[in-house]
Symmetry: D2
Subunit: 315 residues, 4 copies
Amino acid sequence: MSSPAAFLGPEGTFTDAALYVLRPDLTSEQRLACDGVEAVFEAVRSGAAAVGVVPLENSVEGGVTATTAELLNGDPLLITGEVTLDVRFSLVAREGTHLADVKHVVTHPHAQAQCRGWLGRTLPQAQTLPAASTAAAAQIVAEPGSGYDAAISAPIAGERYGLRELATDIGDRSAAATRFVLLSPPGPLPEPTGHDRTSLAAFLADDHPGALAELLNQFSVRDVNLTRLESRPTGDRLGNYCFVIDAEGHVVESRLGEALMGIRRSCRDVRFLGSYPRGDASVEIPTLLPRRTATDTDFHRAQEWLERIRAGGVS
Amino acid sequence: MSSPAAFLGPEGTFTDAALYVLRPDLTSEQRLACDGVEAVFEAVRSGAAAVGVVPLENSVEGGVTATTAELLNGDPLLITGEVTLDVRFSLVAREGTHLADVKHVVTHPHAQAQCRGWLGRTLPQAQTLPAASTAAAAQIVAEPGSGYDAAISAPIAGERYGLRELATDIGDRSAAATRFVLLSPPGPLPEPTGHDRTSLAAFLADDHPGALAELLNQFSVRDVNLTRLESRPTGDRLGNYCFVIDAEGHVVESRLGEALMGIRRSCRDVRFLGSYPRGDASVEIPTLLPRRTATDTDFHRAQEWLERIRAGGVS
Amino acid sequence: MSSPAAFLGPEGTFTDAALYVLRPDLTSEQRLACDGVEAVFEAVRSGAAAVGVVPLENSVEGGVTATTAELLNGDPLLITGEVTLDVRFSLVAREGTHLADVKHVVTHPHAQAQCRGWLGRTLPQAQTLPAASTAAAAQIVAEPGSGYDAAISAPIAGERYGLRELATDIGDRSAAATRFVLLSPPGPLPEPTGHDRTSLAAFLADDHPGALAELLNQFSVRDVNLTRLESRPTGDRLGNYCFVIDAEGHVVESRLGEALMGIRRSCRDVRFLGSYPRGDASVEIPTLLPRRTATDTDFHRAQEWLERIRAGGVS
Amino acid sequence: MSSPAAFLGPEGTFTDAALYVLRPDLTSEQRLACDGVEAVFEAVRSGAAAVGVVPLENSVEGGVTATTAELLNGDPLLITGEVTLDVRFSLVAREGTHLADVKHVVTHPHAQAQCRGWLGRTLPQAQTLPAASTAAAAQIVAEPGSGYDAAISAPIAGERYGLRELATDIGDRSAAATRFVLLSPPGPLPEPTGHDRTSLAAFLADDHPGALAELLNQFSVRDVNLTRLESRPTGDRLGNYCFVIDAEGHVVESRLGEALMGIRRSCRDVRFLGSYPRGDASVEIPTLLPRRTATDTDFHRAQEWLERIRAGGVS
């Protein structure tokens, strides 16, 4: 049990659920709930945890902004895995509570906002009060003598705190997916699977007009699709920008390797954030810059041709 | 008092402070604290409020993801103003409390994470507990007989709830700026000031390779700089993307007008989000795609030249 | 007969044939053979001729380089028409000469090179001597007592000088097409036909990195296809470049008009060379930058949308 | 004397002068005047000559179109050298002829056009007649009993045919430079000199929108400047295009090697035309796509960084 996995706690968050999917092998003793995204990073950086899990995109519980900030600053960690989960809310209560009994609901304000329609229709008389997270809400309800009748939370929070589901999937719109990433200290990368993603941050040079277009071209001339692109002020001073980028493929592939070298040459700095299996193995076909496939075989043939040319051949 | 201004509450949030900067003319009766970003949008859409204020970027209290989602979906609102505030945390307490007395601190987990260094050095024995927002934390502390000794919050929260500052600017790093926007129903745009920003969302056509490069070109050929660029899945199905964009200039300018027409022609859809005075009036010179200036005079001269050419002239 | 048409002479050149196609209405008195491309331009500039015809691309008799130089320098003329002719060579001789009699052939060296295979197979014993043009060769053969038995020339040269065709289409490879243009003084442009071409020369600014990419973008964001692109040193000093461009469409169309205005704003100088019906009305589909169609209706709708947006509307 | 050098003849052409600059070591027996550009290519392809010289750009005697056609078609040859000469015309005559005696001038029509001003001012009464080339004109004048008094030609033609210069540099405008290239059979490339040029032809894929922009990007992301760019119909059918390109640098450099591999992967076909020392060693700084320098050291450092990253490092 020397190497636990840290996650954005408390127990029962959507991040806890993500860790369960990413590392089903772990015992509950090996799962370390942390108070805040920063604490998860700190646990992995200090060696207190071997890996960590945090939300990266679209979380209902915050964490996105903090996660990106931590990835870009401080000692580098690598993303070594990801999973995308649908955000589905349940109403959970202590054993014996019936829906008709629910007068006081507790949850995170974002969850409240997303379940407003259901609450208005189903529990028009109930009062809803805020908690620091949906998991904290479930925890509060689970306490003996709690003044709250039910919590809106992830289904997993109900299980963690021994509560019963009074209603499931009560969000007003079809669930927004949230993407969680697995963090590891620098070390061997995950093996390429043929369905990978590579993340990086490119810091543009100050005095370089057209820098963004060049950055995109570095990918497109190697037929690398992007799946996410986001500008961020770098914070060190106003007017400086970096781009956080997700691209298809693994850094051991020629197309990604060449693209990263090009970015390294043309940007002020670049931080490699990892190559890892895509969590959305089945469906997504990103359409940002689709082109041809460019396999290692394609690159190898072009290399052979170049060598013939350099030796005085003509084709 | 028929047209209040809605803001992300409760009273004492950073958003409350932003509203004070944006609309200092309002009385406290004209300020409507809302429970969640969605509620602010709803208040403006329904006419319950004349305007609303929400955080758009880098907030410590969440709201960014929700704000963008609301801007892109539902009945359109226009951004008619913005302000960027430094996020500075204070430790606030009831009158008579001294720093040495503080055993129980309450705040939002993000704020706690950002003040961890100060807390460890200054209040190593204190326990910190979560609240739904920094303002809610101040509110809790202000209650008579509260079990909490102090809250970490925005300075304004201390004022709103009659608390005293025990310490100021206690964040571990120099403050991250948060950008807030003023929302209005569709209607006359703010007059151009010569230092404006235009926001929009462009929905790429599915089957259009190179669509992102074309989108950027629509701006660059008109010498329009971008100040923010962010990809977002559109949510209707996987693999569809839109880009949320901030650009320099006002839509009444020729350069912006022509660029928007080009995007309208080439994208599946485009949602105009507003033209408004920039809040960072003094310093920022965005460097994404800097080029020349392209004033209305430049466009007018080119138009005159075109008319001469079309009439059979040669220059 | 006050306004003759000048052409690159002497009578019987391929240019003479092109003039016949472009202006079949002219009498022979109205056709003015000029000695050199420069002389054709001079005739139109001075008013000695109302129009002129010169080869622009791929001529076997030279003229391309000179034509471009004249289009770019000196008083501007407009291209008002074009025709593309296959270059087909005939062996022409005086009445009574038979193929077996031919011992001395005269022609332009380019024509000789292109008929070398046929000459070697059919007239292995014949000697071939150079003339200044294929038409001059025919003229020489037509002189009574000429020392030459036959000329290689355009079929039209045989007709012009009363010679008989001994063999037709004797070029070694399938005929290269040559493109000829009709020149006019500045004045009303030809009406758009829906199948037009626009020519221009863009002079890049010295100190403008990425200028070529920007130039191409000015066209591509308006969905204008290019059909020809050629860099040329401007001659005023080394390292300065201009681009000679042919684009689909007519300058009265919105897509062309907006693109030209963009180039006018971003380049050091631009010379408009004309909008005119395409000579290759049937088949060619240029594939340089194909995109969508962008009709005047498309531009008009985008303009209407912009006006609604500027008035405070949202779509 | 087993390996002569072929050139576009007859003796005394500007091409002859270019050969003298490129290969001053050759004896007159080693110089093989050819009748047409095609004949020069044929001599090198067949082994009748070890090398050949032809004009490539801006020749007053034609050859440009033919040269490009031969470079693109038939058995490949490599460009292994180049020189750029100013085109300066002289009036040359037999010994004993004085300027006042000149009544009949012979020259190529292009040369006549370019000396028209001087002829009109200096020899207003003289008649000018055409020859197949300026060198042929000098040859004609040199014949005993020639009916012509003087020829307009390159200075070298006077020397070759034993004529005397009556006037020098008589062209109307400052001389246009003509660029000549040295052709060799496939074999070892010239060593890189640090000031080289690489030529190639890229054949775009039919069905590939935006192909030209991608082609240019392949160079620009590797910081390779272009010095010439020209579209050409490929001839096999209408609507197919290739681009003839000159780029800075030598194919043994990383930046050129990587760019060529990218083009090889993305185009239907690419023909390498050679890497060779630039003839304009002193002044020209092409400004098409200037960027940074990208030396082999820059590429090597990026490669080392990539290897560290792939091994699990972070910078």
